[in-house]
Symmetry: C2
Subunit: 228 residues, 2 copies
DNA sequence: TAGATTGTTAATCGATTAACAATC
DNA sequence: TAGATTGTTAATCGATTAACAATC
């Protein structure tokens, strides 16, 4: 609807439609997904001390065509310098503004097993502005411990933590057979985004978004192009 | 190029072009990605004892439009039954045939820390026909141990294992600062697909595919639609 | 039969790409 | 200046969707 590339328009229509996206507009699924991926690379490039980056380099790391990257970005402003590229630091903040994710967001982690501990002690979420406020585990033995500086609590505290710490995302690193029950409790507590690392297919109301992580599926996909 | 939906064709062209994809054709990136995701849901549905599934149900779990699912599948044959849906078991094997991934594929895992152990002891890869033949770790303390029945070996054995066990994928669950070095060794050994769980941006030759896992990016994306 | 769901068409929308002028 | 890279156009290709006949 706000795509400037649509052909077969009258001149009059084009004049109004080809304007850049105004702040209030909602991004298309594709644009939001791509901007998120640019951000991933930019954050890491910044860590490595890079000051500028070209659309060509972004293309290599994201596997997204460089023309499309420039096109995506130029829809929101002139962020680059011809002959130079984009300033990493400023592009990070521009994309965060566009995605409305400049702030800090709180998440709750479920499961203090190997995967839960790996997540808690990595800074993969922290780098993108997510703070793990609590780890929940069903095992009384681990409740009270800490991983990556985050305390492990009992599932009975779930609703209170969600409310008091304004948790917007629940990350499930629990066994498949426990996943649905935790999801139900998260839905009950009002959480609208569930990130599922278990293999369980989760049943949730339509207003709740479930993202199921699927490394094996990603592998199958990569493998196809290797085999074909 | 083999898309049956392209309009504006002459009748004569249509007659030859609208045929289903022949076995030798290479799938488009999009189709291959979607088929992989159908497979993920089907495998899990089968685990749960489901015998049939409708395009509508597949749509709910994959967030892919149900018409597109039917369209994707009907390009390869008439797999469904009107009024009933698709037989889970047979659809699994049909999609595996299309993706050329009916066989067993060997992978090597790098890093025996929390994440490595979590991967080794889950059956997320096994469910999709991937076998972890070896875990590699730089720490001599853990070399010789086993996780999920898979032995931990020294990185010096890398080339030999890749050759003898026909490893096609390397999965990196190592700290960011160790990732590039392992990637270099994998490239050296001839591995063409690297699955990167570290945050490191990897430099590899063009014939090697790197997939970098990015849970935080997926979260940012989900969050955008929650906030907007 | 009645209800459900596939397979398919037709129309529109968004993604992709090559090409290149503008400009740092 | 010369080289590099953005911003933008124009054309094509693939994805998306509604709708519905076919049929289980």
């Amino acid at each position: 609807m706000t795509d400037p590339s649509v052909s077969e328009r009258t001149a009059a229509e084009t004049a109004t439609v080809d304007l850049p996206l105004s702040e209030g507009d909602r991004l298309s699924l594709g644009v939001a997904a791509r901007l998120s991926r640019y951000l991933q690379v930019l954050i890491q490039a910044r860590k490595m001390g890079r000051e500028t980056i070209s659309s060509q380099e972004l293309a290599e790391y994201t596997h997204i065509n460089s023309t499309q990257i420039r096109r995506d970005l130029s829809g929101f402003g002139k962020f680059g310098k011809r002959g130079v590229g984009y300033r990493v630091e400023s592009l990070v903040s521009e994309i965060r503004k566009i995605l409305h994710t400049s702030g800090q967001h709180n998440i709750a982690l479920f499961g203090a097993g190997n995967l839960g501990q790996a997540i808690a002690s990595s800074d993969i979420f922290a780098d993108h502005g997510f703070r793990i406020v609590s780890i929940f585990d069903a095992d009384p033995e681990v409740v009270g411990k800490e991983f990556g500086g985050v305390p492990v609590r009992s599932l009975t505290d779930l609703e209170q933590v969600v409310r008091e710490d304004e948790v917007v995302v629940g990350v499930l690193a629990v066994p498949a057979q426990a996943a649905q029950q935790v999801a139900d409790q998260l839905v009950e507590a009002g959480v609208k985004i569930i990130f599922n690392y278990s293999e369980q297919l989760l049943q949730v109301p339509p207003e709740v978004t479930v993202h199921t992580s699927s490394p094996a599926v990603d592998l199958l996909y990569a493998l196809y192009f290797y085999l074909a």
